[in-house]
Symmetry: C2
Subunit: 440 residues, 2 copies
């Protein structure tokens, strides 16, 4: 059965966490994979910075080379799996593999988000495939679902917990009631946050992944520069606690939405209703909620990172590529879900034009008339209030934390209202604003 077709030869770029995990999964489940794919998938060559270093994964039968160009140029390799990450030399290696007529599987979200248009054009011209399931949300098959399972849908919006570090930190702040800085230190100790965590906690990584998902959803070219990005540094333990009292959880989300006047592309902390299943996705787990006009909301969740979850997606891509090796080019799944000629430069809204409900936290002096002033300013900007709560300040009885939940309002109006409220003499600290999404 599975011996009828010739084995497919794979060249691995990188034997680190994901590369090693991929080799391990391909070996451990070799029989199952061959029973599904109808042929064997074998890694014949792999690159590693130090070829003599002892490794956890079994590299027997794999030629280890220090030079990655020896892998992408190897004549008997059918598919290159790029698992080194970063922009260079990954970009050059992938382009070289493509020009050698090899198919590529990659887990490199930054590269796809920033250089995917160039890479896919090269692949299209050469008639090869570039698959990238592992680039977004680790072991969760969100690329496949967006590109294939929702092919009959107009996607209305999607929202994803797509950065495990942010989700770990916000979940731990919720569980322990701790503040951002101490949880970050704990996350770094556990290896869930980098020594320099800014790439994750400032939202860049989530924005890369959102860039990819938005293209698949709406048929637009990749455009990281048009994503509004905000991280989680300004979210305090108080905000997490107050949000929960009001029936919400704070999650860092990547959000893409087809609004009436343009597309919204944004990554920022968000209050979401606690009873939503996605609100229960905690720790380093990821989740993506997509709403199609026919399917309705579809939620996918699972491990967003890690050696084997990511390897699971790499292997799924390898099997997909293997199945399509002899498929006519025009019948393959297009890289960005839509046929290249049909991608459209739909207008993307600046964040000022986006409408959301908001959570506001004010530190007000405990004196009469402050609430009247605040609500008057909100009314002046046409902002309706859903709830307003005065709380006890944990340390300072002279200052009253006031939490306001607003109805949906355009960001520009909210910015102006916040600026005016901030100028009230009774307001004693910078106003915190966190957007809200009802997912309704």
């Amino acid at each position: 059965m599975s011996s009828e077709l010739a084995p497919v030869n794979i060249g691995l770029l990188g034997l680190g966490t994901v590369g090693g995990g991929t080799l391990t999964v391909l070996r451990r489940n070799a029989h199952l994979i061959a029973s599904r794919a109808g042929r064997r998938l074998q890694v014949t060559i792999a690159t590693a910075r130090d070829v003599s270093k002892p490794r956890e994964c079994d590299t027997s039968g794999v030629m280890l080379v220090a030079d990655p160009f020896a892998v992408v140029d190897a004549p008997d390799v059918d598919i290159i799996a790029e698992l080194i990450g970063g922009i260079e030399p990954a970009r050059t290696l992938i382009l070289r593999a493509i020009s050698n007529g090899k198919h590529v599987v990659t887990a490199n979200k930054a590269l796809i988000a920033l250089h995917g248009n160039e890479i896919f054009a090269a692949a299209q011209a050469k008639g090869v495939m570039v698959a990238f399931e592992a680039a977004v949300a680790g072991g969760i098959p969100v690329i496949k679902v967006m590109r294939e399972a929702l092919a009959g849908n107009a996607v209305q919006w999607l929202a994803g917990i797509i950065n495990g570090t942010c989700n770990f930190i916000l979940s731990a702040m919720s569980e322990a009631g701790s503040d951002f800085a101490e949880v970050l230190a704990e996350a770094q100790r556990l290896g869930y946050a980098e020594a320099d965590p800014s790439f994750d906690i400032d939202g860049i990584d989530a924005a890369h992944k959102l860039t990819i998902l938005a293209s698949l959803a709406f048929g637009i070219p990749l455009q990281f520069d048009n994503v509004y990005v905000e991280g989680i540094r300004h979210v305090s333990g108080e905000d997490v606690t107050y949000a929960e009292r009001l029936g919400y959880r704070i999650k860092h989300l990547g959000i893409a939405r087809q609004a009436a006047d343009g597309l919204e592309l944004r990554a920022h902390p968000t209050l979401i209703p606690a009873q939503q299943p996605i609100a229960r996705v905690n720790g380093v787990m990821n989740a993506v909620l997509v709403r199609g006009d026919a399917a309705g909301p579809v939620l996918l969740s699972g491990a967003g990172a890690g050696a084997e979850p990511t390897a699971s997606s790499v292997v799924a891509d390898l099997v997909d590529v293997v199945r399509a090796l002899t498929t006519d080019r025009e019948n393959r799944v297009p890289h960005l879900a839509f046929q290249p000629g049909t991608l459209a430069a739909l207008p993307v809204l600046p964040i000022e034009a986006v409408e959301t409900a908001c959570y506001l936290r004010l530190q007000a002096a405990d004196e009469p008339g402050v609430l009247a002033d605040v609500t008057r300013i909100l009314a002046d900007f046409g902002i309706s209030i859903e709830a307003i709560i005065q709380l006890e300040h944990p340390d300072d009885p002279a200052v009253v934390p006031v939490v306001i939940l607003t109805h949906r309002v355009r960001e520009r109006a909210m910015n102006e209202a916040i600026a005016r409220i901030q100028n009230l003499p009774a307001i004693k600290a910078p106003i915190v604003r966190i957007r809200m999404e009802p997912f309704a």
Copy 2:
């Protein structure tokens, strides 16, 4: 672009809820679908019991015929979408379509569960595809995820909320604190339960879907007869309430697991931890949680039924089939995930050999020594107790409801222990036993 390839002609069997929804989605999103598939998908012929009946969906340009054989025999039709349901004439029509060399898309779970082996063998022999995403969990792409996205994994277990009627009833019992019978009547009034609801509430429908999922997970032939089936009639409002007090929700689950000594295939009410995201999947929504050895747990949830969610899956299958029309047979995704020659008749455990933790509810006379007797019997059968709670009986002060949560135990031992406890003179009503799953 999308005009380069000839349109694909589709014949629809059935213009009811799902058939009408499919036609509506294919028309409304025709441009998007063509932009993704690279060609147009058009329904050219459809069958309807009464061709002159006015319909909600736009049938202009579609030849309506009363005789379904006129559809499966139509020479210019490439793909048949079977959306009439039931065993006959659906089975005969699909086999005829296959023998005519046409590909088939179906939403018919009962037919696939009971006759899928025959249908797939015929399709394999003829070299055509039979796609059935819509047969399980409506708009949730669980078939695609199992067959393709998890191709690198050994599946360890899966558990699904795959019957919307059961989930609606159990959710409503939880929210309203009502009892089974009154919620069932409400579900029937709302159209969420049939006039004769036994197919759903006795677990048959869930068992059909589980039959399909288990084959995809483990590479076994379809075998409905080996599924242990239990419905929700015996779950009382009290059980729902007590489970919640203990931190659990009761869901009707289809479960398939690779245990040490065989496969478990079972559909029954189950206590699951309330903090799990799947425990928050309420109402008519469906969800499937699959654990792969590499991917870890992957949760999918969404609309499990309804015209357009089901149509979303039908259209996704149509696009998949269109893409693979010219693919070599051996490179297509196998019907049951594994190449036909590799399906294995793995042993399925009888329910008596399955191990689970259990929730037991006893109605005991309020007299000394009862708990001692009960716990002694459990100990005699090697059953460890995780928690034991005595409650107030809502109506009868002479009777004490006792809820016991056990650790994992083989069903045979639990059956014998229950029989012995039931015989104690102090036990005043039939003992309720609901299995538990930790999802850990």
